[in-house]
Symmetry: C2
């Protein structure tokens, strides 16, 4: 095993301190959430880029458990930062455009006041007497830094992963008027009991280290390094995924690296963990580890969707959440819970679950940087209005041949005309956001898309659209009853597994639903089937072979009408098209139309 | 939190010893796999039930890391055993039928020789001088017990979960002629690096406990209890699932139980873990924990499918593997790897992945007992030939109305007639095993089924059929080229997503493939579609509505023939049926047949 293989979330963090780090002393006392107060608090911080005249380009980056203020290097000679790949001139968080602030959190040991700081009442380090702090306290101190030290009233955006994401949530909750955008990466409303349990075991290892001395080890010769190293080893297992560990340590299980350690060296994974543990104790304080993990364990924006919704009901921010599929410490389901709670209370939320094998560490690694980097920069551009207002395009060249809109988009304009002005619109299966863009051009402002393909969600982000990376087959439960004026299912019906559930859900979440689909009973298709005895195939939406079509359902206009009758769903309006000829059909639509648009809903509910 | 909520995998294990436990002294030295030898080894064991005259009903149960010989109680007054729910009179492993043996493993501390035993060379406990042992050594000692103490030559079955499953694999490998059946539950060919990493951290916690004294703590007043408790806490997290922890500790996170402990008590999960740790140190020796986990970490039947295949190539056993969907310590993918390796080398393997929320612990809990219990008892009955030889049945009442065979099974008999005598047959989507049972009645012996529904796999197990609980859409990669004479896809084509892949895979793994499907171009269906402009619906296989049919593909005979031409797949034979009339069709089958049977393959390869 080579040294390179020993990379991990903190590969770039060194025990040294950048000469660019500044320290600000908070002039007032800090009253803490759990009681008690702290005087003479010092905050270590670094800034990058230039604050503009309007002071509207400040981006605060919040670090995770073991991070510090040194998010990136300031010059070629400077030490690399812990998010070097993500922050800097021309990078995802572009320091040529934004004034970036990063401070070490309260309770840490990397410059900001923490348990190893001198308690002015005793003249000795706080140790066990450092008060219990919360994520809310960390954020309160950051707010003072931003307002009083940097003289900035409002932040363009707060960004953070893991514990950094907890701080993002607290910012939005505590200072709803001061944060325009929030980006939470690989984070959650609270730790799962499983994640919390690992913290408990880690702390028990520290507090039962004989050198811990009840936290007052600063004036002894020894520190609880074994306990801290064991806690860190455990942490490292949770930052990786089963897959990534297999890749790194599967084949060479019995080939440990030769390192100097008195921890077990029999297996390669053992020496990796010992190495991580050893590296960590050189730069981190055991009491800070206890303080920060306890703050993480106590953190809760809500224990369920309802509580989260209440916690964040006053927030005014635009939100972006990003999760990673293999992250089991902050699993995607927890990001989804945040998304659902915010959507529920009408907040503006975009979300993407990025496929990754790297586990929780993914947000610090280069593997998925393209995805989370693009999403972040697009979101920042959305906040500043810098995204190219890409309009939907009729260029056939941009579409696949099997796309119904390959040649014509007749039905799309008709759908737009069917939607009452000022409607709040949900587009199910919004793909690259063509319909949403068109609606925005027409003056609609309340627009949300749902899209299963995370790459298409990125495309939508670049158009400043608000899109949630969900499967519509189970994503609609997110939305409360009659949340939208109109829900649209455009050319997607035929690919849905549980048609009944999706349509019933649409009629629940929206006052009116617009459903368009290709008519399987269109005369040429019928004739093809009848005369040739083969599954019909034409250019456009039936341009697939029977054995590889993504279509699962083959509805006709008559079938759809029967379905609505059976389920007591009112058809408010129907428009039938022959898109080949580019005309509307009124005579025998089930025979003459290749495409149908239905408006469903309760007529009394759709006046706005 | 009540005491009941503190149940866990070892709830039934007490620190006391059953009076039914016996100890046998091995008369000879044991030469160990990693070098060295042990003299005067003692084995603690218990037996249940009566050995029959032929000595053919012996079932050996192998325990997991913290288990012992007391698998179940022997009488009402006896202590409950660790698998009490599973083993006993009338239970899944029925001690009225089987002579059950369970012994404490070598290296443990529950009666069998281990590090806390007296080293006769020094007169003191072995401690750190206890030699490195392997799972192979544990099994070697069990073999001596079975042969020399109990005078039994062959075992009907070896059963075990987790580390117990490792022993099952070793038995089959080392003593291929002496084990008729093997049941591996929640097990794997080796620990994943992730699982191994948790062991490493646990051992580091023990060896860095100040009371560990390099393993020679027996003559001191203190034992490394803190370290052992921490290791056990960590283990417990891995035995549970995220879901089960959420259920137990999500809501009442901040309501710790009042227990006497100097471990952290802030969170409910913390007191649960502290309680488990404390309970464990009362009955387990830290050196044994190190010894056994190291043996587990060293264990490997193979690091990949190929290596596993080589390791087990000489085994003659009939196999059953059972995994649990939420087990992340021994994940289903690892059971599947074992299944695939054994299938690859032509072994007889059944497999079921039981949906469960309980994590690794599931195999010891009552939640899924019905499933793993039924599978186990059915498998034991298969070994003894005691399963009712249930034949396939024509009773319509047993079938759903949408089943093609609701009324008639014309095509099934024809399929059977198409298969050459003595063929090895793979039935894809075998459901309740009707076709396989029929084939067995006709004298076929090499029969394997693949079925996605685990409950149907249980039904097949009760018929002594060998069935693997896989999705055929990705399960065929398991099989090597031309492994079977005939692969059958009966009435399943229309529900397959990737038709092309499945058919290509079938033609790869079998010399000939038989595919039967309902013909979508059957005249009444065509007419219905043509005249009414609706998705055709009839009794039988088109008895679904367009919006809820499980069918995804609607192939006609003509379509299927086109497909075979396009893909250069030879059609060796075709039979067309009108199952309504109960006749074969020769004229215009695409119009007149409601059902088609195709035999595909390379004509030169299908002579046997």
């Amino acid at each position: 095993m080579t040294t390179e293989e020993f990379h991990s979330s903190d590969k770039a963090i060194t025990s040294e301190t950048s000469s660019y780090m500044k320290v600000w002393s908070v002039p007032s006392s800090i009253n803490l959430e759990m009681g008690g107060k702290l005087d003479n608090v010092k905050i270590a911080y670094e800034t990058y880029g230039k604050l503009n005249n309007k002071k509207s380009n400040a981006v605060l980056i919040c670090h995770a458990l073991s991070g510090d203020s040194h998010v990136a290097s300031h010059s070629k000679d400077d030490l690399k930062g812990w998010w070097e790949i993500f922050v800097g001139p021309g990078k995802s968080i572009d320091t040529n455009k934004y004034f970036v602030i990063c401070s070490n959190v309260l309770g840490s040991c990397r410059g900001t006041t923490g348990p190893n700081s001198i308690n002015q009442n005793t003249g000795k380090p706080f140790g066990k007497n450092f008060p219990l702090i919360t994520v809310g306290d960390m954020v309160k101190v950051q707010k003072l830094l931003v307002n009083d030290a940097l003289k900035i009233q409002n932040l363009l955006c707060v960004v953070g992963g893991s514990l950094g994401g907890f701080q993002v949530l607290e910012w939005a909750k505590q200072y709803p008027s001061n944060v325009k955008g929030c980006i939470g990466i690989a984070t959650s409303s609270r730790l799962s009991p499983q994640a919390l349990a690992f913290d408990v075991v880690g702390r028990n290892a520290i507090t039962h280290d004989p050198h811990f001395k009840d936290g007052q080890y600063y004036d002894t010769n020894a520190k609880p390094e074994d306990g801290l190293a064991i806690a860190r080893m455990l942490g490292h297992i949770t930052y990786l995924s089963n897959d990534s560990m297999n890749k790194k340590f599967g084949e060479n299980k019995l080939k440990p690296r030769e390192i100097k350690t008195d921890f077990e060296k029999r297996f390669s994974i053992g020496t990796y963990l010992a190495y991580q543990g050893k590296k960590f104790v050189e730069r981190f304080d055991a009491n800070s580890y206890i303080t920060l993990t306890t703050a993480m364990d106590l953190f809760s924006i809500g224990e369920n969707k309802k509580e989260i919704e209440i916690s964040l009901k006053n927030t005014n921010s635009d939100w972006l959440f990003i999760s990673f599929s293999s992250d089991w410490l902050y699993p995607p389901s927890q990001s989804k819970e945040l998304v659902e709670a915010l959507v529920s209370s009408g907040k503006n939320v975009s979300y993407t679950n990025i496929p990754s094998k790297a586990g929780h560490d993914a947000f610090l690694l280069e593997d998925e940087l393209e995805d989370y980097g693009n999403l972040t920069s697009a979101f920042l551009n959305k906040l500043t209005g810098d995204n190219e207002k890409t309009s939907y395009s009729l260029e056939p060249s941009q579409r696949e041949k099997t796309n119904i809109f390959y040649n014509k988009r007749l039905d799309l304009n008709i759908i737009v005309d069917l939607i009452p002005k000022n409607s709040a619109v949900l587009d199910l299966g919004c793909e690259d956001g063509d319909l949403l863009s068109l609606l925005r051009e027409k003056g609609f402002t309340e627009l949300i898309g749902i899209e299963i393909d995370y790459k298409k969600v990125e495309t939508c982000a670049k158009k400043s659209l608000t899109v949630i990376n969900y499967d519509i087959e189970d994503g609609l439960k997110t939305f409360s009853n009659k949340k939208f004026d109109v829900a649209i299912l455009s050319q997607t019906l035929q690919a849905i597994k549980d048609v009944e559930k999706v349509i019933i859900e649409m009629t629940r979440v929206a006052k009116a639903s617009i459903i368009s689909f290709p008519n399987f009973a269109y005369q040429p298709l019928r004739e093809m089937m009848f005369q040739e005895g083969k599954a019909p195939k034409t250019e456009g939406w039936y341009g697939y072979e029977w054995y590889n079509t993504p279509n699962k359902r083959f509805p006709s206009i008559a079938d759809f009408e029967d379905f609505c009758n059976l389920k007591n769903i009112s058809i408010l309006r129907s428009v039938f098209l022959n898109s080949e000829k580019g005309i509307q059909i009124t005579e025998k639509p089930n025979l003459n139309a290749d495409n149908a648009i239905f408006v469903l809903g309760d007529p009394e509910k759709i006046t706005r």
